[in-house]
Symmetry: C2
Subunit: 159 residues, 2 copies
Amino acid sequence: KEFIIRGVAQDNNVVKIAVLGVPDKPGIAYKVFSALAADHIAVDMIVQSIRNSDKKINDIVFTIAKPDLDQVKEIMAKIGQEIGVIGLEFDEDVAKVSAVGAGMFGNPGIAAEMFGALGDAGINIEVISTSEISISCLVRKDQAKDAVTAIHNRFFKQR
Amino acid sequence: KEFIIRGVAQDNNVVKIAVLGVPDKPGIAYKVFSALAADHIAVDMIVQSIRNSDKKINDIVFTIAKPDLDQVKEIMAKIGQEIGVIGLEFDEDVAKVSAVGAGMFGNPGIAAEMFGALGDAGINIEVISTSEISISCLVRKDQAKDAVTAIHNRFFKQR
Ligand SMILES: C[C@@H](O)[C@H](N)C(=O)O
Ligand SMILES: C[C@@H](O)[C@H](N)C(=O)O
């Protein structure tokens, strides 16, 4: 098994923001992120999946750095009013763990191994986002260190 | 406005698979992707957000290449039985459009502009996934060409 991951990264300085039940129509994602851009708020992950039940609304999840939380709460309260949302969630108890490497593209074995490492360690994966060069998961903050160790051992130590 | 995107990519050869209502507990994502890896199915995007209603279940969305669809349907029917899912959705009518560049990391202005270009063109964003070097959206396949043009004009032509 030739693994192409270069390393495992961890970021404890993240806050997960969930904008729940936004209208699923053109221009809504723009309203959310242009409001953040206007106040120069750095955004890391942006994740939007499908909504199983009501197809007319959707949830947008994104992460910011902890120091920006108070400002983002104000921005989202205003935007929430403007676009109409079911709710807003702010979760500081998360951390991002990522497997990074070249050409992860398309190799489900990499994702499976990472998810398997977390599963075997009893760590629940809350959010997943992938790209050509990385796979990122949000987990509970108090499990981040175990998560990094589990992923690292799965890809590096035991081969 | 200094934009750092290098280009806009489009992929019409994708199928969006949604595994709806899986148990939200450790090891489940591993079961799904190890089954795909065992059959050498290339997976592109993997997106899992939060589930607004029932917190004990979640939806996992991923994309594959069209030629693998029949095989993936078989794999997912088996896995669906094994882990217990509410439903499976296979959608061939999607395309992926991505803005790629260096150091997109943290600049919400890039994401906002891309989402704004799609919004102004009346194109609904169905799925979003971001990384340090790219922002990807799934849109209706018949809007993919307009989506690429709208994003391209927003970042390149009019400055
Ligand atoms: C929910 C949000 O992404 C919406 N679909 C949009 O296109 O902006
Ligand atoms: C839903 C799935 O991602 C689950 N939470 C897991 O950890 O595997």
